[in-house]
């Protein structure tokens, strides 16, 4: 059952991801991207990470994608004129396939021998995923969390400065 679900969503994710790179119109690309994100969210749930699935939908499919589409609309980008270079395709495709091959090799041969922690499925069910995340975030990863806030501040300031029209 789970396998079928996995394969289903994986296939959809792959195809829609591929279509992101192939669609002529940026809007189509964006929609396919959203599809991919949603598939990923499903996969997160299957991986016992419901909180991640939630913010995947909210942050990515929601915030970021809205932003992107907003920009596409703002800039009034129509269908891209078909001027792809075949050699770029060939080279890009070749290199990507090669990369995929290499990635496969080290994933297959690699061993994930790291120390196995105590967060089993059972724990997640007992405590709830969000709580576990929150706990880790505010104890062990407090500093990264704070840095992330600075990062967002910088991004906001930057975006404001850059998109102001007048000096």
């Amino acid at each position: 059952m789970l396998s079928i679900l996995f394969y289903l969503f994986a296939t959809v994710a792959i195809f829609s991801a591929f279509y992101v790179t192939k669609a002529r119109s940026p809007v189509n690309s964006a929609l396919c991207l959203v599809t991919t994100f949603i598939c990923f969210a499903v996969l997160y749930i299957m991986l016992d990470a419901p909180f991640m699935a939630a913010i995947q939908i909210m942050v990515y499919a929601g915030a970021i994608m809205v932003l992107i589409i907003f920009v596409i609309m703002l800039l009034n980008l129509g269908t891209a004129i078909k001027k792809r270079y075949t050699h770029a395709l060939v080279w890009g495709g070749g290199v990507s396939v090669l990369m995929l091959f290499i990635t496969n090799v080290f994933i297959r041969r690699g061993e994930m021998s790291g120390k196995v922690g105590d967060v089993t499925t059972q724990t997640i069910h007992n405590y709830g995923h969000t709580e576990l995340i929150g706990k880790a975030m505010f104890t062990e990863f407090l500093l990264p969390f704070e840095i992330a806030s600075i990062l967002l501040l910088v991004a906001i300031v930057g975006a404001v400065i850059l998109s102001k029209r007048e000096v």
Binding site: S3, F6, A10, A13, I14, V20, T21, P26, S29, L33, T36, F37, F40, L43, Y44, L47, D48, A49, M52, I55, V59, Y60, I64, L67, I68, I72, L74, L75, L77, R84, A88, L89, G92, G93, S96, M99, L100, T103, I107, R108, M112, K115, V116, G117, D118, V119, A136, M137, E140, A148, L151, L152, A155, G158, A159, V160, I161, L162, S163, R165
Partner: protein
């Protein structure tokens, strides 16, 4: 049974597709979307590994990656808008003032 490897392979495929997109597309926004694709595939890897290793660090990382993606999206799109205002285009072939 679906194991961690499946997820890893899937994320590798998506990662490669993202790379492929970056390499072949000329539209800056699409390229940006492809980069998001790559980041997402890494997220998948993190979460899969996090489950496999049974600790939360990976998922926390994903959380931050998402933050970063958002921040980058804000700045990146602002840059694109600024560029568009000057050049009426966001085709990467028009990024051609600086070369050699």
């Amino acid at each position: 049974m679906i194991g961690v490897y499946h997820y890893l392979i899937l994320s590798a495929i998506i990662f490669s597709i993202g790379t492929f997109g970056v390499l072949t597309r000329k539209n800056a926004i699409v390229i940006f979307m492809c980069i998001e694709l790559m980041l997402n595939s890494v997220n998948l890897t993190f979460i899969a590994l996090s489950r496999h290793l049974q600790n939360m660090d990976g998922q926390i990382f994903v959380f931050f990656v998402m933050t970063v993606a958002a921040a980058e999206a804000a700045v990146g799109l602002a840059l694109m808008i600024a560029f568009y205002r000057n050049r009426e285009s966001i085709d990467t072939d028009d990024f051609n003032m600086l070369k050699w």
